[in-house]
């Protein structure tokens, strides 16, 4: 038939759109109304559309939070074998909080923070023990970490919901837009905590554990002794140098007290320590490769800063150089099951440590190697 056959149809449409035609008038009217509506209500329409998008993401976070709670509850029942229903206790733990010490007069705040952290840890452990009476010590650590991940998911959901409802209440485009801009990052963190929760429930090593893995591999087969709370050390020889290897006691989920451990070893050695080498996971920048190893100076240790403060103080007191070897990974990789490329980095780090010791420490010298991080799923 060809295009010519449709000529009657396009001809008809053309007539409708003629100057003064009915359809032309209707379309013009629609455009004018739309223009006026968008002129006066554009911002509100944009706000409503953005809120709808945020609502979808918030619903996903809520599902993750509920799934996390269900996994935690199931694992506590399976591992801890409680006598009564642990759900009410778990729900109260999900709302658990800690008030930071006042920082108006910052002198001595580190010790106040340490005290608070210790009290929190002890209280939290007691609560978990109450609902998991049959769990072993390492299972108890894993359950603690798992409930903390569930707490993080609960907090993410509640904070996001707070800003969503605030935006909805005030219809402030700027509040809503800020939340929308942060949503991809919030979703990434929520997913990471969900992965962490699953890893903790099974006792799988996480990316943050690479420091502990390096320490365990470096002193594999040696005898370990406890040097601080939940922290152990082994003494090895590397080409005529005495090396103290420090890590958190595994295989339960635990970061130990590397600061206290380093402090004790320095004091035992009367301050005659040639170097401290700290191995930890470090946050990578976008574009950097996961599992890349980098060397630098300083105390490589995360957390609130208490342990880092102790190591820096001791290093300054005895003028001990502090060196760092870090393994690059992003936040979600740090709290998710350890990736293959991160696990493979351990051997490269051990080579770097041995090279550093033989190149920079004189024979007969003493070195402390601290493998920092959560030792879940990593024994010794």
């Amino acid at each position: 038939m060809g295009l010519r056959g449709y000529g009657w149809m396009f001809g008809g449409v053309g007539q409708l759109f003629q100057q003064g035609g009915l359809l032309n008038t209707v379309v013009q009217l629609i455009f004018t109304i739309a223009f006026i509506v968008f002129l006066f209500y554009g911002q509100q329409i944009q706000s409503l559309m953005t809120l709808k998008k945020i609502e979808g993401s918030l619903e996903k976070i809520r599902r993750m939070r509920d799934e996390g709670r269900a996994i935690a509850l199931e694992t506590i029942k399976e591992v801890g074998k409680p006598d009564r229903d642990p759900a009410p206790k778990l729900d109260s733990l999900l709302e658990y909080f800690m008030i930071d010490p006042v920082d108006l007069d910052p002198a001595g705040i580190v010790w106040k923070l340490e005290h608070l952290m210790n009290v929190r840890e002890e209280r939290f452990r007691q609560e978990i023990r109450e609902i998991s009476p049959k769990a072993s010590e390492s299972e108890l650590h894993n359950l603690e970490n798992m409930v903390e991940a569930a707490m993080a998911l609960n907090s993410i959901y509640k904070i996001t919901r707070h800003y969503y409802l605030l935006g909805k209440k005030t219809m402030s485009l700027y509040t809503i837009l800020q939340l929308q801009m942060l949503m991809p990052t919030i979703m990434k963190y929520a997913n990471a905590y969900m992965n962490a929760l699953k890893a903790f429930s099974k006792g799988v090593p996480i990316g943050d554990g690479i420091g502990a893995l390096v320490a365990a591999k470096l002193a594999n087969g040696e005898s370990w002794r406890r040097v601080a709370k939940d922290t152990i050390a082994a003494k090895i020889d590397v080409d005529g140098r005495t090396v103290y290897v420090v890590k958190a006691e595994g295989p339960g989920g635990n970061v130990g007290k590397p600061g206290d451990a380093v402090l004790r070893i320095i004091e035992e050695e009367g301050g005659r320590v040639s170097s401290i080498i700290m191995v930890d996971a470090a946050l990578k920048l976008e574009g950097e490769k996961t599992g890349d190893v980098a060397e630098g100076i300083g105390a490589a240790i995360g957390g609130v800063g208490v342990e880092r403060y102790k190591i820096e103080e001791m290093a300054l007191k005895y003028k001990i150089p502090t060196n760092a070897i870090v393994i690059k990974e992003d936040l979600s990789e740090a709290i998710s099951p350890m990736k293959e490329e991160i696990a493979n980095a351990a051997d490269r780090v051990i080579e770097a440590i041995k090279r550093f010791i033989t190149d920079r420490v004189e024979k007969g010298g003493v070195v402390i190697v601290a493998g920092v991080g959560n030792t879940i799923g990593i024994g010794q």
Binding site: V13, G250, P251
Partner: protein, 82 residues
């Protein structure tokens, strides 16, 4: 003119769909690598609750030596290599 406008709109729609980044989450699995302390025979299997690095498992199939867990990691599902 109207037909041209419709065609342009369709073209823009498909271009937009094509250029939008699509990220499908890759499913991962947790595996445990075991190594014989004597003959270095390597074995790989799926992770089981209770596994941890440096845990000693049953005897080696080849020499009867102790099998030790040397690695536990997450990898993309379906990748088979040691």
């Amino acid at each position: 003119m109207m037909l041209l406008g419709l065609l342009m709109a369709a073209l823009l729609f498909f271009l937009f769909k094509m250029l939008m980044p699509t990220s499908k989450p890759q499913e991962s699995e947790i595996v445990t690598v075991l190594e014989c302390a004597k003959c270095k025979l390597k074995e790989i299997r799926m992770f089981k609750r209770g596994d941890y690095v440096f845990k000693e498992e049953g005897p080696c199939k080849r020499c009867g030596g102790p099998m030790v867990i040397t690695k536990i990691f997450a990898r993309i599902k379906g990748k088979v290599r040691l």
